[in-house]
């Protein structure tokens, strides 16, 4: 192969990698946080923006699909594996055995609702996927407030209207409850009634049970009659959720309010009483307002969950990893610092030990890392800390091929061959060794990459791509550099 041809191949690869990385560069270094936020906007939110901004949003979204993204551990976020609570589903369906079809159907509904909630919530690159038979994996990278996102995802979304059992409630006394606020003797609650709690925020902003209330079990109206939900502020600036009922719901609600004037109606969401206003008069028209102990954001989230509807089956968290954004930043810093120090240490060592040939190995190492990043960009890869660890390990192992070659060349030189012949023989003899020794690591990392979707996969993928590129740069590129040195610069003595 002529030198020129080799140079063209290498330059083409560099250009290709640069092309791939240019998007990543633009995304992280040319655009501001505000621009990047635009890519998180949902289709629904998009409508309210003017035409030119919408174009920009589309552009940002397209850009994001071409870059190296940061994983949960690096930018914070949520990873959750959810399982349907099949016991509860059985109860609900009133059957002892569930058919495959029932479960599948429930899962499908759950995913629909999850998607609708998450889409409205707006996070970058959410993933919702089925794992195995009945597990649902939800990934929300980069959510600024993971706690809030989690509440939106996990809320069962069940809204119910129930009347307060005033008679029994009046009988409740403090000494009937234990330290945790649970009723000691349940016999006081009559058939057809149940105990519930009014939840309010304490001074730490933590939602706590304020007091016990007895409700009639009958659900007068539930969230399924709901048509729209939106947030407003009342005259005191307090947020409230206003929703409209469907025609049927409105009729029903009018009847209920008419029949129960003067009584308290509890608005129960996810089993917690949000508020219990007194019904003053018949309410026609199907406009209902919910006030409660919530902030503006929480009111918005409540409206969002109400719009998306309730899960057909409660969910259990099988696995959950929440990483706060500050921890992610610290992790990136640590990872980048480790990578830089590792690279410098190896580069310096190679120059000290192999002199000019060490520089050749370093050039190939730099090229190796650059092409690796380029490949990751083209794959729209999500970089995690283990991914960075894979790269760091690549730095350490990448010089191996060159070490094998250099040691061979030294041997050949010692046996009295000319520079050119030694280089030729060195590369030839080292090739098989390099191939064999890299194959085993490749097999191990390949198997490892089949390990689920977790961070381990990121490690395995970066390491494998790193190794493949390494075989190219450490053999093909360094050989070219030697020949350039000998032919063009008339090097007579090998510095190795």
């Amino acid at each position: 192969m002529s030198k020129l041809f080799r140079i063209i191949i290498i330059l083409a690869l560099i250009a290709f990698a640069t092309w791939g990385l240019s998007y990543t560069y633009l995304w992280y270094f040319k655009y501001s946080d505000k621009d990047r936020e635009l890519a998180n906007l949902t289709a629904e939110q998009l409508v309210s923006y003017p035409e030119d901004v919408r174009e920009k949003i589309k552009e940002m979204k397209a850009l994001r699909s071409r870059i190296i993204n940061l994983g949960l551990d690096l930018q914070g976020g949520i990873y959750m594996v959810l399982e349907p609570d099949l016991e509860k589903l059985k109860e609900k369906m009133g059957s002892a055995e569930l058919s495959q079809e029932d479960i599948k159907d429930a899962i499908r509904r759950v995913i629909e609702i999850l998607r609708s909630r998450i889409d409205k919530f707006g996070v970058s690159e959410p993933t919702i996927a089925i794992q195995g038979e009945d597990r649902i994996v939800v990934e929300l990278p980069g959510s600024k407030d993971p706690d809030r996102a989690k509440t939106v995802v996990m809320s069962s979304g069940v809204l119910e209207f129930k009347l307060v059992d005033e008679e029994t409630t009046a009988k409740l006394r403090r000494d009937m409850f234990d330290e945790d606020g649970n009723l000691i003797d349940n016999s006081i609650i009559p058939e057809g009634s149940e105990l519930a709690y009014l939840w309010v925020k304490n001074k730490y902003d933590v939602l706590v049970r304020q007091r016990a209330v007895v409700l009639y079990k009958d659900v007068l109206l539930d969230g399924s009659y709901l048509k729209r939900a939106q947030v407003q502020t009342d005259q005191f600036g307090k947020p409230e959720v206003i929703f409209s009922l469907s025609a049927e719901g409105a009729k029903k609600f009018a009847r209920i309010t008419e029949a129960n004037v003067g009584k308290r109606l509890a608005i129960v969401f996810d089993g917690k009483i949000l508020s219990m206003p007194v019904i003053r008069e018949r309410i026609p028209g199907g406009q209902v307002r919910i006030t409660g102990s919530f902030t503006m954001k929480e009111a918005q989230d409540l409206a969002l969950v109400l719009r998306a509807g309730a899960f057909p089956v409660p969910l259990q968290i099988a696995e959950q990893r929440i990483i706060g954004p500050s921890l992610g930043r610290d992790t990136i810093k640590a990872g980048v610092k480790a990578a830089l120090i590792a690279a410098i240490a190896v580069v310096v060592f190679m120059i000290i030990y192999y002199k000019l040939s060490g520089i050749i190995a370093d050039i190939s190492l730099a090229l190796n890392m650059y092409l690796l990043l380029g490949a990751l960009a083209w794959l729209n890869f999500t970089l995690t800390l283990p991914g960075i660890a894979g790269m760091i390990l690549t730095i350490g192992m990448a010089v191996d091929a060159n070490v094998i070659i250099f040691e061979r060349i030294k041997e050949e030189l010692r046996s009295g061959k000319t520079i050119m012949a030694s280089i030729q023989a060195g590369y030839e003899k080292a090739f098989r060794t390099i191939l064999d020794s890299n194959m085993t690591t490749l097999i191990a990392t390949f198997v490892l990459s089949q390990f689920g979707s977790g961070p381990i996969k990121g490690f395995a993928v970066t390491l494998s791509i790193g190794i493949v590129i390494n075989m190219f740069t450490s053999i093909f590129v360094t050989k070219l550099l030697y020949f350039i040195g000998i032919d063009w610069f008339k090097v007579k003595k090998l510095s190795i």
Binding site: K337, G396, D400, M439, T440, T441
Partner: protein, 302 residues
Amino acid sequence: MKFVHRLRLVSYRRFTYILSSLIIIAGMVNIALHHGLKMGIDFAGGNIIQVEIKEQISISEVRNVLISTGYGNNVQRIEDPTKRIFLLKTRAFERDNDKVIEDIKNALFEHFGREKVVIQKVDIVGPRISRYLLRTSYIIGVVALVLILLYTSFRFRFRFGVTAIVALIHDVLIVVSFISFFGLEMDTFILAAILTIIGYSLNDTIVVFDRARENLKSAKAYEQYEYTMNHSVNQSLSRTLITSLTTLMVIIVLYIFGGPTMRGFAFALIVGVIAGTYSSIFIATSLVVDWHKLKPEKIKKV
């Protein structure tokens, strides 16, 4: 590194066999005494909250908060000179692990005040997931070993393949022993480290065996079997040492600067690389030599 050509490395094998056996036996005994390796949250299941408290408080204060919730008393402090970061751990419950986390969080908020408590990380691994991860890990380990065994026996003569695998198992056992000596918890990161070591260890051994294959060309080379093998180790010695050195450099950097998540992973790699280097120099070829003494290898035509 010319001097190394005179080293009679293979002749130290009585000593190295004993050394390796001692470490591995001690490791296995230690594991048995502790009823197996300590399993981290990935494989045992559990709940962890990593929290930073922005106040001068002691670990026992945090522990008391956890005790007050009734979920045990497992609190650790993460080494950090400037911040007070704690890990609060509980076992995994069959259901509603989410509620456990909420309870603990609320207890922390109430005790220290919401603005002083920064929740950095929350991990929940339920019992079904941990069983699933454990099972997958076994499968992954076995599949990797079988594939590598197939590859080595395809590429090398039978004896070399078998000894390479023995050296590899030796390395993994040493790593596992050290994990137990230092009381590290097995998690998916350490599993990844072990699989990487499997690849790396073989890589090292293969380079030496490649040389041996090249040197075993004449009848004379077979007659002086021990000398030939020793010569092969010596020829690849500088490469083995340099590569191990550069790899070790980067892993040590990772250990020091990579943050707490990477520490166990880097530690396992450090032990693994050292063990892999040592075994490819002292164990793998020595075994081939002993095998030849027991049952001489037939001369192969090249």
